[in-house]
Protein backbone atom coordinates (compact mmCIF):
# COMPACT_ATOMS: atom_id res chain seq x y z
CA UNK A 1 0.00 0.00 0.00
CA UNK A 2 1.27 3.45 -0.87
CA UNK A 3 2.38 5.66 2.00
CA UNK A 4 0.30 8.63 3.08
CA UNK A 5 1.78 12.10 2.76
CA UNK A 6 2.46 12.10 6.48
CA UNK A 7 4.35 8.82 6.29
CA UNK A 8 6.39 10.05 3.32
CA UNK A 9 7.22 13.19 5.23
CA UNK A 10 8.33 11.37 8.40
CA UNK A 11 10.47 9.00 6.37
CA UNK A 12 12.38 11.78 4.60
CA UNK A 13 12.77 13.82 7.74
CA UNK A 14 13.77 11.09 10.15
CA UNK A 15 13.36 7.35 9.64
CA UNK A 16 14.96 7.39 6.17
CA UNK A 17 16.85 10.66 6.69
CA UNK A 18 19.20 11.04 3.71
CA UNK A 19 22.23 12.00 5.77
CA UNK A 20 21.74 10.00 8.98
CA UNK A 21 20.28 6.82 7.49
CA UNK A 22 21.44 6.76 3.88
CA UNK A 23 24.76 8.64 4.24
CA UNK A 24 24.01 10.76 1.18
CA UNK A 25 25.01 14.38 0.53
CA UNK A 26 28.11 14.04 2.70
CA UNK A 27 30.41 16.12 0.48
CA UNK A 28 28.41 19.30 0.94
CA UNK A 29 27.87 18.41 4.60
CA UNK A 30 31.62 18.72 5.01
CA UNK A 31 32.01 21.81 2.89
CA UNK A 32 29.42 24.31 4.05
CA UNK A 33 28.86 23.47 7.71
CA UNK A 34 31.38 25.77 9.36
CA UNK A 35 28.91 28.66 9.41
CA UNK A 36 25.20 28.42 10.23
CA UNK A 37 24.14 31.11 7.76
CA UNK A 38 25.81 29.39 4.80
CA UNK A 39 24.34 26.08 5.91
CA UNK A 40 20.86 27.49 6.13
CA UNK A 41 20.96 29.03 2.66
CA UNK A 42 22.48 25.87 1.21
CA UNK A 43 19.70 23.85 2.88
CA UNK A 44 16.96 26.13 1.53
CA UNK A 45 18.49 25.84 -1.94
CA UNK A 46 18.55 22.07 -1.66
CA UNK A 47 14.96 21.87 -0.38
CA UNK A 48 13.79 23.94 -3.35
CA UNK A 49 15.78 21.95 -5.89
CA UNK A 50 14.84 18.52 -4.49
CA UNK A 51 11.14 19.36 -4.27
CA UNK A 52 10.91 20.97 -7.70
CA UNK A 53 13.00 18.41 -9.55
CA UNK A 54 10.93 15.66 -7.92
CA UNK A 55 7.75 17.36 -9.14
CA UNK A 56 9.11 17.73 -12.68
CA UNK A 57 10.52 14.22 -12.91
CA UNK A 58 7.24 12.85 -11.60
CA UNK A 59 5.12 14.92 -14.00
CA UNK A 60 7.15 13.64 -16.95
CA UNK A 61 7.40 10.06 -15.64
CA UNK A 62 4.97 8.52 -18.12
CA UNK A 63 6.50 10.00 -21.26
CA UNK A 64 10.23 9.97 -20.37
CA UNK A 65 11.92 7.07 -22.21
CA UNK A 66 13.48 4.81 -19.57
CA UNK A 67 16.84 4.59 -21.32
CA UNK A 68 17.50 8.34 -21.17
CA UNK A 69 15.83 9.02 -17.81
CA UNK A 70 19.07 9.83 -16.01
CA UNK A 71 20.10 12.40 -18.59
CA UNK A 72 16.67 13.94 -18.23
CA UNK A 73 16.96 14.00 -14.43
CA UNK A 74 20.35 15.70 -14.50
CA UNK A 75 19.09 18.27 -16.99
CA UNK A 76 16.08 19.09 -14.79
CA UNK A 77 18.18 19.28 -11.62
CA UNK A 78 20.83 21.47 -13.26
CA UNK A 79 18.14 23.84 -14.51
CA UNK A 80 16.72 24.40 -11.02
CA UNK A 81 20.18 24.81 -9.50
CA UNK A 82 21.08 27.51 -12.00
CA UNK A 83 17.80 29.24 -11.19
CA UNK A 84 18.82 29.28 -7.50
CA UNK A 85 22.29 30.54 -8.39
CA UNK A 86 20.97 33.40 -10.54
CA UNK A 87 18.40 34.43 -7.93
CA UNK A 88 21.01 34.44 -5.15
CA UNK A 89 23.36 36.57 -7.25
CA UNK A 90 20.57 39.02 -7.98
CA UNK A 91 18.90 39.28 -4.58
CA UNK A 92 21.37 38.03 -1.94
CA UNK A 93 24.79 38.93 -3.40
CA UNK A 94 26.58 38.63 -0.04
CA UNK A 95 25.34 35.10 0.60
CA UNK A 96 26.05 34.19 -3.01
CA UNK A 97 29.66 35.29 -2.55
CA UNK A 98 29.98 33.39 0.71
CA UNK A 99 28.67 30.17 -0.84
CA UNK A 100 30.92 30.58 -3.87
CA UNK A 101 31.06 27.42 -5.93
CA UNK A 102 28.93 25.36 -3.54
CA UNK A 103 25.64 26.44 -5.09
CA UNK A 104 26.66 25.01 -8.45
CA UNK A 105 27.66 21.84 -6.68
CA UNK A 106 24.07 21.25 -5.52
CA UNK A 107 23.72 19.65 -8.96
CA UNK A 108 26.02 16.84 -7.86
CA UNK A 109 24.30 16.30 -4.51
CA UNK A 110 23.36 12.64 -4.54
CA UNK A 111 20.21 13.20 -2.50
CA UNK A 112 18.45 14.97 -5.37
CA UNK A 113 19.19 12.38 -8.00
CA UNK A 114 18.55 9.66 -5.42
CA UNK A 115 15.03 10.94 -4.79
CA UNK A 116 14.34 11.48 -8.49
CA UNK A 117 15.44 7.95 -9.33
CA UNK A 118 14.25 6.21 -6.16
CA UNK A 119 10.91 7.91 -5.67
CA UNK A 120 9.73 10.58 -8.12
CA UNK A 121 9.87 8.50 -11.27
CA UNK A 122 7.44 5.91 -9.86
CA UNK A 123 5.07 8.16 -7.94
CA UNK A 124 2.48 10.86 -8.69
CA UNK A 125 3.31 14.56 -8.43
CA UNK A 126 2.00 15.36 -4.94
CA UNK A 127 3.74 12.52 -3.06
CA UNK A 128 6.90 13.29 -5.06
CA UNK A 129 6.72 16.92 -3.92
CA UNK A 130 6.25 15.90 -0.27
CA UNK A 131 9.12 13.44 -0.55
CA UNK A 132 11.46 16.06 -2.02
CA UNK A 133 10.48 18.59 0.62
CA UNK A 134 10.95 16.12 3.47
CA UNK A 135 14.33 14.86 2.27
CA UNK A 136 15.57 18.41 1.73
CA UNK A 137 14.40 19.33 5.24
CA UNK A 138 15.98 16.21 6.70
CA UNK A 139 19.29 17.12 5.08
CA UNK A 140 19.06 20.74 6.24
CA UNK A 141 18.32 19.88 9.86
CA UNK A 142 21.25 17.47 10.16
CA UNK A 143 23.59 20.00 8.53
CA UNK A 144 22.38 22.75 10.85
CA UNK A 145 23.14 20.50 13.82
CA UNK A 146 26.67 19.94 12.53
CA UNK A 147 27.11 23.65 11.77
CA UNK A 148 25.86 24.57 15.25
CA UNK A 149 28.72 22.64 16.87
CA UNK A 150 31.33 23.77 14.34
CA UNK A 151 30.48 27.47 14.41
CA UNK A 152 30.13 27.52 18.19
CA UNK A 153 33.51 25.94 18.83
CA UNK A 154 35.34 27.14 15.71
CA UNK A 155 34.35 30.81 15.88
CA UNK A 156 32.63 31.19 19.26
CA UNK A 157 29.57 32.56 17.47
CA UNK A 158 26.08 31.43 16.38
CA UNK A 159 24.71 32.93 13.16
CA UNK A 160 27.56 35.43 13.49
CA UNK A 161 26.65 36.60 17.01
CA UNK A 162 29.37 36.07 19.61
CA UNK A 163 28.04 33.78 22.35
CA UNK A 164 31.17 32.43 24.01
CA UNK A 165 32.69 34.24 27.00
CA UNK A 166 35.58 36.63 26.40
CA UNK A 167 38.91 34.83 26.33
CA UNK A 168 37.42 31.81 24.58
CA UNK A 169 39.99 30.23 22.28
CA UNK A 170 38.48 29.23 18.96
CA UNK A 171 39.12 25.62 17.92
CA UNK A 172 40.77 26.03 14.55
CA UNK A 173 40.20 22.36 13.73
CA UNK A 174 36.42 22.92 13.86
CA UNK A 175 36.64 25.31 10.92
CA UNK A 176 38.47 22.79 8.75
CA UNK A 177 36.81 19.89 6.90
CA UNK A 178 38.10 17.11 9.23
CA UNK A 179 35.96 18.50 12.05
CA UNK A 180 32.85 17.86 9.97
CA UNK A 181 33.83 14.19 9.84
CA UNK A 182 34.09 14.03 13.64
CA UNK A 183 30.86 15.90 14.34
CA UNK A 184 28.91 14.05 11.67
CA UNK A 185 30.24 10.71 12.87
CA UNK A 186 29.14 11.42 16.43
CA UNK A 187 25.69 12.43 15.18
CA UNK A 188 25.38 9.29 13.06
CA UNK A 189 26.48 7.12 15.92
CA UNK A 190 24.06 8.74 18.34
CA UNK A 191 21.11 8.62 15.97
CA UNK A 192 21.65 5.03 14.96
CA UNK A 193 22.35 3.77 18.49
CA UNK A 194 19.50 5.46 20.33
CA UNK A 195 16.94 5.30 17.55
CA UNK A 196 17.92 2.32 15.42
CA UNK A 197 16.18 2.00 12.08
CA UNK A 198 13.41 -0.59 12.21
CA UNK A 199 14.13 -3.47 9.89
Amino acid sequence: MADTSRQIFTKGLWSDNPVLRQILGICSALAVTNLLVNTLIMGLGLIFVTAMSNVTVSALRNITPARIRMMVQVLIIATYVIVVDVLLKAYLPDISRALGPYVGLIITNCIIMGRAEGFARQNPVWPAFVDGLANGLGYTLVLLAVAFVRELLGFGTLFGFPVMPAGFTAWTIMVMPPAAFFVLAVLLWTANTWWPKKA
Binding site: N34, L35, N38, L60, I63, T64, P65, R67, I68, M71, V72, L75, I76, A78, T79, I82, V83, V86, L87, K89, A90, Y91, P93, R97, A98, G100, P101, G154, F155, A170, T172, V175, M176
Partner: protein, 217 residues
Protein backbone atom coordinates in the same frame (compact mmCIF):
# COMPACT_ATOMS: atom_id res chain seq x y z
CA UNK B 1 14.33 2.59 -34.38
CA UNK B 2 11.25 4.67 -33.78
CA UNK B 3 11.92 4.55 -30.02
CA UNK B 4 15.44 5.82 -30.50
CA UNK B 5 14.27 8.80 -32.53
CA UNK B 6 11.68 9.61 -29.91
CA UNK B 7 14.41 9.65 -27.23
CA UNK B 8 16.53 12.06 -29.26
CA UNK B 9 13.61 14.32 -30.01
CA UNK B 10 12.43 14.22 -26.38
CA UNK B 11 15.84 15.22 -25.05
CA UNK B 12 16.14 17.95 -27.66
CA UNK B 13 12.77 19.49 -26.80
CA UNK B 14 13.37 19.26 -23.06
CA UNK B 15 16.80 20.88 -23.38
CA UNK B 16 15.24 23.64 -25.46
CA UNK B 17 12.59 24.27 -22.79
CA UNK B 18 15.16 24.29 -19.97
CA UNK B 19 17.64 26.58 -21.69
CA UNK B 20 14.76 28.83 -22.73
CA UNK B 21 13.64 29.08 -19.12
CA UNK B 22 17.16 29.87 -17.91
CA UNK B 23 17.75 32.44 -20.63
CA UNK B 24 14.54 34.13 -19.55
CA UNK B 25 15.52 34.22 -15.88
CA UNK B 26 19.01 35.44 -16.70
CA UNK B 27 17.54 38.10 -18.98
CA UNK B 28 15.21 39.36 -16.26
CA UNK B 29 17.89 39.40 -13.54
CA UNK B 30 21.05 40.03 -15.55
CA UNK B 31 21.02 43.76 -15.09
CA UNK B 32 20.46 43.46 -11.37
CA UNK B 33 23.40 41.06 -11.04
CA UNK B 34 25.64 43.39 -13.01
CA UNK B 35 24.56 46.34 -10.85
CA UNK B 36 25.41 44.35 -7.70
CA UNK B 37 28.81 43.41 -9.05
CA UNK B 38 29.57 46.96 -10.15
CA UNK B 39 28.37 48.46 -6.87
CA UNK B 40 30.59 46.12 -4.91
CA UNK B 41 33.61 46.96 -7.05
CA UNK B 42 32.93 50.70 -6.79
CA UNK B 43 32.84 50.51 -3.01
CA UNK B 44 36.09 48.55 -2.92
CA UNK B 45 37.84 51.10 -5.14
CA UNK B 46 36.60 54.01 -3.04
CA UNK B 47 37.68 52.24 0.11
CA UNK B 48 41.27 51.53 -0.99
CA UNK B 49 41.61 55.13 -2.21
CA UNK B 50 40.49 56.21 1.29
CA UNK B 51 37.53 58.14 -0.13
CA UNK B 52 34.87 58.00 2.59
CA UNK B 53 31.44 56.59 1.82
CA UNK B 54 28.82 57.08 4.58
CA UNK B 55 28.05 53.77 6.28
CA UNK B 56 24.34 54.06 5.46
CA UNK B 57 24.87 55.02 1.80
CA UNK B 58 22.91 52.83 -0.61
CA UNK B 59 24.32 51.64 -3.91
CA UNK B 60 22.98 54.66 -5.79
CA UNK B 61 24.70 57.09 -3.40
CA UNK B 62 27.95 55.11 -3.59
CA UNK B 63 27.77 55.20 -7.39
CA UNK B 64 27.31 58.98 -7.24
CA UNK B 65 30.40 59.43 -5.05
CA UNK B 66 32.29 57.07 -7.35
CA UNK B 67 31.33 59.09 -10.44
CA UNK B 68 32.56 62.31 -8.81
CA UNK B 69 35.75 61.05 -7.25
CA UNK B 70 37.10 58.26 -9.44
CA UNK B 71 38.31 58.39 -13.02
CA UNK B 72 38.90 55.17 -14.92
CA UNK B 73 42.07 55.27 -17.01
CA UNK B 74 43.07 52.72 -19.64
CA UNK B 75 46.79 51.95 -19.60
CA UNK B 76 48.33 49.33 -21.86
CA UNK B 77 45.11 47.38 -22.14
CA UNK B 78 44.43 47.50 -18.36
CA UNK B 79 42.16 49.72 -16.33
CA UNK B 80 43.50 51.68 -13.39
CA UNK B 81 41.51 54.01 -11.20
CA UNK B 82 42.51 57.56 -10.39
CA UNK B 83 41.18 58.91 -7.10
CA UNK B 84 40.30 62.60 -7.19
CA UNK B 85 39.99 65.10 -4.36
CA UNK B 86 36.74 66.83 -3.44
CA UNK B 87 37.48 69.56 -6.01
CA UNK B 88 37.54 66.94 -8.76
CA UNK B 89 41.05 67.84 -10.02
CA UNK B 90 43.67 67.10 -7.35
CA UNK B 91 44.87 63.51 -7.38
CA UNK B 92 44.58 61.46 -4.19
CA UNK B 93 46.12 58.31 -5.55
CA UNK B 94 45.75 55.35 -7.82
CA UNK B 95 43.95 52.05 -7.45
CA UNK B 96 44.65 48.86 -9.36
CA UNK B 97 43.56 45.24 -9.10
CA UNK B 98 45.63 42.46 -7.56
CA UNK B 99 44.63 39.05 -8.78
CA UNK B 100 45.89 35.52 -9.06
CA UNK B 101 45.22 31.97 -7.92
CA UNK B 102 44.59 31.31 -4.23
CA UNK B 103 44.51 27.94 -2.49
CA UNK B 104 40.95 27.01 -3.55
CA UNK B 105 40.17 29.48 -6.30
CA UNK B 106 41.02 32.84 -7.82
CA UNK B 107 41.57 35.76 -5.45
CA UNK B 108 40.64 39.32 -6.42
CA UNK B 109 41.86 42.31 -4.51
CA UNK B 110 42.27 46.05 -5.04
CA UNK B 111 45.14 48.22 -3.87
CA UNK B 112 45.29 51.98 -3.51
CA UNK B 113 48.64 53.80 -3.67
CA UNK B 114 49.68 57.42 -3.18
CA UNK B 115 50.01 59.74 -6.24
CA UNK B 116 53.84 59.34 -6.20
CA UNK B 117 53.32 55.55 -6.27
CA UNK B 118 55.46 55.08 -3.16
CA UNK B 119 53.07 54.43 -0.31
CA UNK B 120 50.16 52.01 0.08
CA UNK B 121 46.87 53.69 0.94
CA UNK B 122 44.77 50.59 1.41
CA UNK B 123 44.14 47.01 0.32
CA UNK B 124 40.92 45.06 0.16
CA UNK B 125 40.35 41.43 -0.82
CA UNK B 126 36.88 41.22 -2.28
CA UNK B 127 36.52 37.99 -4.18
CA UNK B 128 37.97 34.76 -2.80
CA UNK B 129 37.03 31.19 -1.98
CA UNK B 130 39.59 30.45 0.72
CA UNK B 131 38.67 28.34 3.76
CA UNK B 132 36.32 30.37 5.98
CA UNK B 133 38.01 31.13 9.29
CA UNK B 134 41.49 30.37 7.94
CA UNK B 135 42.57 31.62 4.50
CA UNK B 136 39.24 33.44 4.29
CA UNK B 137 40.53 35.83 6.95
CA UNK B 138 42.49 37.74 4.28
CA UNK B 139 39.32 39.84 3.98
CA UNK B 140 39.49 40.90 7.64
CA UNK B 141 40.65 44.34 8.68
CA UNK B 142 43.50 43.16 10.94
CA UNK B 143 45.12 41.58 7.90
CA UNK B 144 44.49 44.26 5.28
CA UNK B 145 45.24 47.16 7.67
CA UNK B 146 48.84 45.95 7.90
CA UNK B 147 49.50 47.18 4.37
CA UNK B 148 48.23 50.73 4.83
CA UNK B 149 51.09 53.21 5.08
CA UNK B 150 53.76 50.72 3.98
CA UNK B 151 56.37 51.95 1.50
CA UNK B 152 56.49 50.21 -1.86
CA UNK B 153 60.19 49.40 -1.93
CA UNK B 154 61.19 45.95 -3.15
CA UNK B 155 63.67 44.01 -1.02
CA UNK B 156 66.81 42.27 -2.38
CA UNK B 157 64.65 39.48 -3.84
CA UNK B 158 62.35 41.95 -5.59
CA UNK B 159 59.47 41.34 -3.20
CA UNK B 160 57.32 44.22 -2.07
CA UNK B 161 55.77 42.15 0.68
CA UNK B 162 56.34 38.80 2.24
CA UNK B 163 54.28 37.10 4.87
CA UNK B 164 55.98 35.77 8.01
CA UNK B 165 54.70 34.32 11.26
CA UNK B 166 56.01 37.14 13.49
CA UNK B 167 56.96 40.29 11.58
CA UNK B 168 59.49 42.76 12.93
CA UNK B 169 57.99 46.20 13.24
CA UNK B 170 60.76 48.12 11.49
CA UNK B 171 60.98 45.87 8.44
CA UNK B 172 58.98 47.58 5.75
CA UNK B 173 58.35 44.47 3.63
CA UNK B 174 57.17 42.08 6.35
CA UNK B 175 53.53 41.34 6.96
CA UNK B 176 51.92 39.03 9.53
CA UNK B 177 50.73 35.85 7.81
CA UNK B 178 47.61 33.91 8.78
CA UNK B 179 48.15 31.07 11.23
CA UNK B 180 46.84 27.79 9.84
CA UNK B 181 46.62 29.15 6.31
CA UNK B 182 50.15 28.82 4.97
CA UNK B 183 49.02 27.93 1.45
CA UNK B 184 46.75 30.95 1.17
CA UNK B 185 49.49 33.17 2.61
CA UNK B 186 52.06 31.95 0.08
CA UNK B 187 49.71 32.53 -2.84
CA UNK B 188 48.58 35.93 -1.59
CA UNK B 189 52.21 36.97 -1.32
CA UNK B 190 52.87 35.84 -4.88
CA UNK B 191 49.83 37.43 -6.46
CA UNK B 192 50.41 40.71 -4.62
CA UNK B 193 54.05 40.99 -5.63
CA UNK B 194 53.36 40.08 -9.26
CA UNK B 195 50.41 42.44 -9.65
CA UNK B 196 52.08 45.33 -7.82
CA UNK B 197 55.17 45.04 -10.02
CA UNK B 198 53.06 44.94 -13.18
CA UNK B 199 50.90 47.92 -12.34
CA UNK B 200 53.68 50.07 -10.91
CA UNK B 201 55.59 49.58 -14.16
CA UNK B 202 52.51 50.56 -16.14
CA UNK B 203 51.91 53.67 -14.06
CA UNK B 204 55.58 54.70 -13.97
CA UNK B 205 55.94 54.37 -17.72
CA UNK B 206 52.84 56.44 -18.26
CA UNK B 207 54.07 59.09 -15.83
CA UNK B 208 57.84 59.24 -15.31
CA UNK B 209 58.95 59.72 -11.70
CA UNK B 210 59.07 63.35 -10.72
CA UNK B 211 56.42 64.42 -13.15
CA UNK B 212 53.01 64.61 -11.59
CA UNK B 213 50.96 61.80 -13.12
CA UNK B 214 48.14 63.61 -14.80
CA UNK B 215 47.29 61.12 -17.48
CA UNK B 216 43.82 60.44 -18.57
CA UNK B 217 43.07 64.14 -18.70
Amino acid sequence: MKKRWFSVLYMFVLTLVCTGLLTGIQEVNGQRIEVNRQARENRVILSVLLIPVPADADNARAAEIYAQRVREVRLGGKTVYQGLGKDGTSILGWAFPLSGPGFWGAIQAMMGVSPDLETVLGVEFYDQNETPGLGGRITEAWFTDQFAGKRLIPDAKGRFFYLVSSPEKDLENQVDAITGASQTSIRVQELMNDSIREYLDLLRNAAPPGASPSLGA
